[in-house]
Point group: D2
Chain length 346, copies 4
Amino acid sequence: MIRFNCDYGEGAHPRVLQKLADTNFEQTPGYGEDEYCAQAAELIRKECKREDIAVHFIVGGTQTNLIVIAAALRTHQGVISAASGHINIHETGSIEATGHKVISLPDDGGKITAQQIEKYYLDHIHDESFEHIVQPKMVYISNPTEYGTVYNRNELVSISNVCRQYGLYLYMDGARMGYGLCAEGNDLDLPFITECCDVFYIGGTKVGALFGEAVVIKNEELKKDFRYIIKQRGAMLAKGRLLGLQFLALFEDGLYYEISAHADQLAEKIKKAFLDEGYSPLFPSSTNQQFFILPNSLLGKLKEKYSFATWGKFDDTQSIVRFCTSWATKEESVSDLVADIHAYAQ
Amino acid sequence: MIRFNCDYGEGAHPRVLQKLADTNFEQTPGYGEDEYCAQAAELIRKECKREDIAVHFIVGGTQTNLIVIAAALRTHQGVISAASGHINIHETGSIEATGHKVISLPDDGGKITAQQIEKYYLDHIHDESFEHIVQPKMVYISNPTEYGTVYNRNELVSISNVCRQYGLYLYMDGARMGYGLCAEGNDLDLPFITECCDVFYIGGTKVGALFGEAVVIKNEELKKDFRYIIKQRGAMLAKGRLLGLQFLALFEDGLYYEISAHADQLAEKIKKAFLDEGYSPLFPSSTNQQFFILPNSLLGKLKEKYSFATWGKFDDTQSIVRFCTSWATKEESVSDLVADIHAYAQ
Amino acid sequence: MIRFNCDYGEGAHPRVLQKLADTNFEQTPGYGEDEYCAQAAELIRKECKREDIAVHFIVGGTQTNLIVIAAALRTHQGVISAASGHINIHETGSIEATGHKVISLPDDGGKITAQQIEKYYLDHIHDESFEHIVQPKMVYISNPTEYGTVYNRNELVSISNVCRQYGLYLYMDGARMGYGLCAEGNDLDLPFITECCDVFYIGGTKVGALFGEAVVIKNEELKKDFRYIIKQRGAMLAKGRLLGLQFLALFEDGLYYEISAHADQLAEKIKKAFLDEGYSPLFPSSTNQQFFILPNSLLGKLKEKYSFATWGKFDDTQSIVRFCTSWATKEESVSDLVADIHAYAQ
Amino acid sequence: MIRFNCDYGEGAHPRVLQKLADTNFEQTPGYGEDEYCAQAAELIRKECKREDIAVHFIVGGTQTNLIVIAAALRTHQGVISAASGHINIHETGSIEATGHKVISLPDDGGKITAQQIEKYYLDHIHDESFEHIVQPKMVYISNPTEYGTVYNRNELVSISNVCRQYGLYLYMDGARMGYGLCAEGNDLDLPFITECCDVFYIGGTKVGALFGEAVVIKNEELKKDFRYIIKQRGAMLAKGRLLGLQFLALFEDGLYYEISAHADQLAEKIKKAFLDEGYSPLFPSSTNQQFFILPNSLLGKLKEKYSFATWGKFDDTQSIVRFCTSWATKEESVSDLVADIHAYAQ
């Protein structure tokens, strides 16, 4: 069985693992106050081209989301998210468990717009019962989104401008950041994202690390006492260096981009095969997640050899499925799949 | 200016106030452990025709909602509500502040259906990532709803059956319960509601009391330690008898129904005047809240003499407005309004 | 049975009740946005001799405490309190339910000192694991304390200075404020308290109102969006004017002080009787709560005619009891008690 | 510099790391639903000699504590802990952030007794204001404690009996479980602990793993929906197998005990050296943490070559310090230290 289910099926890129092995017997201070974390943070500051950003390393994405949001919001404030946003539907109410409402806006392929945000904000402040409604204070976007789509510069800068105008924090969930940055047609890069956002994270778990997300905080208000909150939420890894070391491996010589590009290119091949056979994508994606509407008959045949995620029924004869590549996906697995798509589609 | 804005513009029905005055110098135990609360609870048990229900008195509706939900749910559980439900949009995220997600379903005039609830529940348990999604454990309905509509016996029993089948608690917010029970065409009564629900409350604040809601708990699981939670949420009134006394006044000789019927009958007159002039209600209501779609030109004239709530723009020339009666609304105020509707509509 | 159990056994001072009756049929806006609340707030600003303070009215004390603290603290911050502080032991964990630790310091008769606070703060920031410990950010004191004692000017200004030096908010719980301000030997007044504290409340429930506490906020940081949080915690009374009206009655012509002095003077008579018979107070109090260590034999006799609170066993033959007077205590009740103390003590 | 600061200074035991490397390219399901987690859970069931226990793997200790407690308690309930308990003082209020009070009891060397627990429980239920006080529902003990001491069978069974009698859950924090089980004089083992506790965890982070704690749940009430809560608190590791693999390495052939015994034996040598020179331990410990009261002059000399944790000042000339060994401590490091203790102490 060849797995295209998800991008966290294997361990870590060998160079990541090697670095853990090489340093295994060193004694370092705990809780992220070691030299490796400092070096990795410095590398990320260089990638983002800003010296004044704070960088923290956290084990997983849900943890990161709830810590950032707990750090940012007062008790009566909520976070605006696409309806399909990970915090809204796939984190078992982690944000509500910190006391905050996720205010969902209808999305298009996982994306929301500056216009939607502005309208929601203005409707709120003009409502005569505004104090009876959760106050929006943060905007959460994912890039790439949960559907594999990406924001472009115009879209992101518009959202950023609306957020600044109305005093909303802009937070980007970058669980699959690398796959977005290396996608065909993408025009974002880390310095531009840093410029637009108050806080974001660069995902490691799905992009070559065993685990780990690097949180980048630009807004001074969000920097204060951030480590207290990491500890309070049970996210201050005793052997914090494990996170620093992995991000060192990913960023010291471009490995992060290299493996992200690899996954995106393989995903493009799969996409092309489906398109060539006349199938429709659910949304246009150039990243490592490809959602397609496929006939159940085809899926029945593919299932014998490949595993992938079924997202739901499209109609009586077709389903929505996701094929996912990663840093670990092999060229030959994709070649096999492409050949089989062409063979079975006939 | 004659006010039809809301049903909490005046103080209390004179008989309620009188009872507070009559007992003012008596010394009683605090925190709801006095004889008047015991008597009022007993009256309510009789109204509901069940001896084994627990009755607690709480000052306000938002407070009641958050206490009931905090008492019922474990940390990973959420409450299903109509999108228009009070807990979803008009309580400043009070439920989220207790740690729980409000799972909103699209509503029709404030109502949701057994079918919607069942579908949501089954989708959840059949989702392969079900543990990544908030677990639905309670259903919250308002009766009358925020739009003045009411559930009928068939609808309520269907919802109740679905809830029992899947282990969901059914909770009815009865902030305007009296106006529902006395509405033309209503077929619910308190014993039937008691039978169908695990917990509900009978609203006093909007139906003749200075303040106060009577929570009725039938399900044994929800009864346990309920007073601890009332205290924890700051809702255990030191002079708890003030609540008991008011509900005594409302229920000892049918005052609650008498004043509710009064408000409903006056609302019917307003409704009839609008219908006679050819205007459309937003939703069909026979309770004390009447939502109508009216021309801005008419509203302009009515505003000179009457105040009412504007719910939003319907189109370029019409708005949605709410006219609200209460136990305190005067016959002559309604007669004046009806005459003016006919005069101005021409 | 004559009750000296507590200061919330009766209803309200007749002038308070009269004002509710006089205005009962007026129609006013809800949620505290009426003219009476505005007038009462203005009166309190005059009492405090500061124009820039925000004044909010809330039904009860536990509610007030949890709202003020939820408004003030970020998630990793805690509030320092005397071990005997109401928030620490008698509010069913309401502060923890908002997510914050109550950091308890050993107290002397309910009071803590500037030195204790400073030491705790400095120990925290100098601890090498300081991020693993809740950050102290607010100091909570009660005046009078739960044991009836009061702070003097020197003590309060010292605490205030330490708080300012280290960026801690100072919050005074004034559930029995009147009884403190009118106590023999007290040198505090509302302008001085306003000067020293960031936020405090003037208790109504125990001092002549049916219910109600007036929160006074001086610190700008705590004023922002306070009403959102009142609503979120279920504390925005629909008929908010009921609170404004009561505080109008209490402050428009000095009633608050008049009835507080009455209670204190009666308490002094009780104290004198016990002292004259050679019994020891638990702590020195000149307010309406008198805690004494009394022989069980005496208590046995007093119990036949009077009720009072038993605080616990002192030793095999003596108990700690509290006698409490209030605005409603009658002169003759105290005369009877005093006579009986002298009679039974022989 | 030779470090005796803590037991999490190095990476992982080589056999643990090797297992991660060996399986690195395998594709497995995520979120702990893989075969390795299943095997590791089975091994732990065998160690505990009970087939019906649930086993979950979580990254860190604070995370584990807050998840177990969030899973166990209703909103008005609290957890009893030694004042020195990790949850009470070193987790930045993580338990309060889940809404629950930590009820601290004075401890003796980190330990509390069955008598203390019983007294606290009975005082609570007999208090006439019991509903105004947090309800105790769980007892948290650490074994070994934060001071390196251990409970014996008699003590543990007494605590367990009290807990059962009064319906309290018993939870043991076993962050350093191995060092306790292998300590000289210890009479506990995993089957006995399983018998006595409702839930406990076996620490990996400090005993040879890169990270990871194995939660063992015996009580059926606590098993239900546990994975939802793991996910909600951000603790469901995407590549969950990393946890399973590490516990496989630790338990498949006794490595856990072997390395624990190693650390304990080295700690005994350090203890003996201090005792031989006439110094006093803070509390008697036979585990890997040794707290001693030492003259500052001696510490000054030791600091040149060794690092260790300073716990505070004992008096003007002596300090309390902690020397900590681990699975990774080298024999020669301890020999050097012992020699230097004898040399400098003269």
